[in-house]
């Protein structure tokens, strides 16, 4: 068999495979995306169960070497969209052991952690860093107010949590995300307060406007001759 035939056959095998993969990708990619969206919404509700509606706001520019803020969602209860229930921040730390560690933090309006869950991407070592997903580790963050330090062994007080044994790198990455989340909420809470104010103002404006229209209509009616109820003599 000539070298050309060999190369050609190999090329055919590779191309056919590539075509099949492109097809499989077209089919599975939308499903993966839909799943991701669904999981995201479910996670939002998990970390901030009191909130009924979520509104995404611009994270702005948050400066930190290792943590990126992916998204901030503000949680409201009820249709009025003015009853603030808290914030949900997704943050990714590039300092995980196996790559990025993405964490979702629910923060209540007093800037204390409501709940932390691990989201994806997360590829820490099974049996070691992967234990960061367990409530035993994550529940340590509940109620803490930021600037949390990771210690090995017993954690004392409100500013410390205990690292997972032999998974300090993962523990630190998660903590960095939580700390950054609280920082960014404090920084942007003026934005959220402003946003909430705006919604309130717009609502009030609408009420004012309809009141004004009503008044104007009544005014106009006053200028019109009052319909006199004549004696109806039948002939007009």
């Amino acid at each position: 068999m000539s070298k050309f035939t060999v190369a050609l056959r190999l090329f055919i095998i590779t191309s056919v495979t590539a075509v099949f993969l492109a097809f499989a990708y077209k089919v599975t990619a939308p499903i993966t995306e839909a799943n991701n969206q669904k999981t995201f919404q479910e996670s939002l509700r998990e970390v901030l169960p009191l909130a009924k509606e979520f509104k995404q706001i611009d994270p702005g520019s948050f400066e930190d070497e290792t943590v990126t803020i992916n998204s901030i969602n503000v949680g409201y209860a009820g249709a009025e969209a003015t009853d603030l229930k808290g914030y949900v921040v997704t943050a990714t730390s590039s300092e995980g052991y196996g790559g990025d560690v993405c964490v979702m933090v629910g923060v209540d309006p007093s800037y204390k952690v409501n709940k932390v869950i691990i989201s994806s991407p997360f590829s820490e070592t099974p049996g070691l860093g992967a234990n960061a997903k367990k409530p035993a580790f994550l529940d340590q963050f509940i109620g803490k107010g930021g600037n949390i330090e990771v210690v090995k062994g017993e954690a004392k007080g409100d500013k410390q949590i205990s690292a997972i044994s032999s998974a300090t790198i993962t523990s630190k990455a998660v903590t960095a995300c939580v700390n950054a989340s609280i920082e960014v909420i404090k920084a942007t809470s003026q934005k959220t307060a402003a946003a909430a104010e705006e919604i309130k103002l717009v609502a009030e404006e609408k009420v004012d406007q309809s009141n004004a229209e009503l008044d104007a209509a009544l005014e106009n009616r006053k200028d019109e001759p009052t319909p006199v109820i004549k004696e109806d003599d039948g002939n007009e």
């Binding site: 590779t14 052991y97 196996g98 790559g99 070592t125 300090t168």
Partner: protein, 192 residues
């Protein structure tokens, strides 16, 4: 940058050793560790392949991302590695035939060494730059070499020991590897 490289290196060699902690490259680790000499040869060949593979796959990954076909990554990477190992084989056959002969069939088997594909994929997951990928690839190979030489050293000693029949061969090798792994756990608190 330099401290970053140092953290990567110490991580790859000690704290999260590719063989004893991350379980990559186990087949050659168990198969080529009978003599320290062959183990060293294999280790060095793997260091070279892993470093080159890291460098090449960095650019392949850039290209794939540019063309928007990231899902072809696995195929592209393994093909690059297979071709790389072919070239290394041809090169060794001509230049260092002694090494080529002593490695025998284990040389082409470097293609299926999980550590080579593993480090290429890890470079992508960890979003490492070009120099960082090269360093990580090379030091991961060094970690593999360290582990395989250690095991070979112990196995050579075990040859002249009185081991019960049912433990001879793989069982005692695995238990030894387990003990090496326990020893390496001692590095897990290390940080920079």
């Amino acid at each position: 940058m330099l401290s970053n490289l140092l953290t990567l290196s110490i991580g790859a060699i000690l704290i999260e050793n590719f063989v004893l902690v991350q379980f990559m490259g186990i087949c050659p680790f168990l198969g080529v560790s009978k003599k320290v000499e062959t183990a060293t040869g294999m280790g060095l060949a793997v260091v070279f392949v892993m470093a080159c593979a890291s460098g090449l796959t960095y650019f392949v990954n850039l290209l794939l991302n540019l063309l928007g076909i990231a899902y072809m990554r696995t195929i592209a990477f393994i093909l690059v590695i297979a071709v790389l190992v072919q070239f290394v084989e041809m090169f060794l056959k001509k230049s260092i035939p002694a090494l080529y002969n002593s490695l025998g069939i284990y040389l082409p088997l470097i293609t299926t060494n999980c550590a080579v594909l593993g480090v290429a994929l890890l470079n992508v997951t960890k979003k490492l730059g070009f120099i960082e990928s090269l360093v990580y690839g090379a030091t991961a190979g060094l970690g593999f070499t360290l582990a395989i030489i250690l095991l070979a050293g112990v196995r050579e000693r075990l040859e002249s020991s009185n081991i019960p029949d049912f433990l001879k061969g793989m069982p005692i090798t695995l238990i030894t590897a387990g003990l090496l792994s326990v020893a390496f756990m001692g590095f897990s608190g290390l940080s920079f």
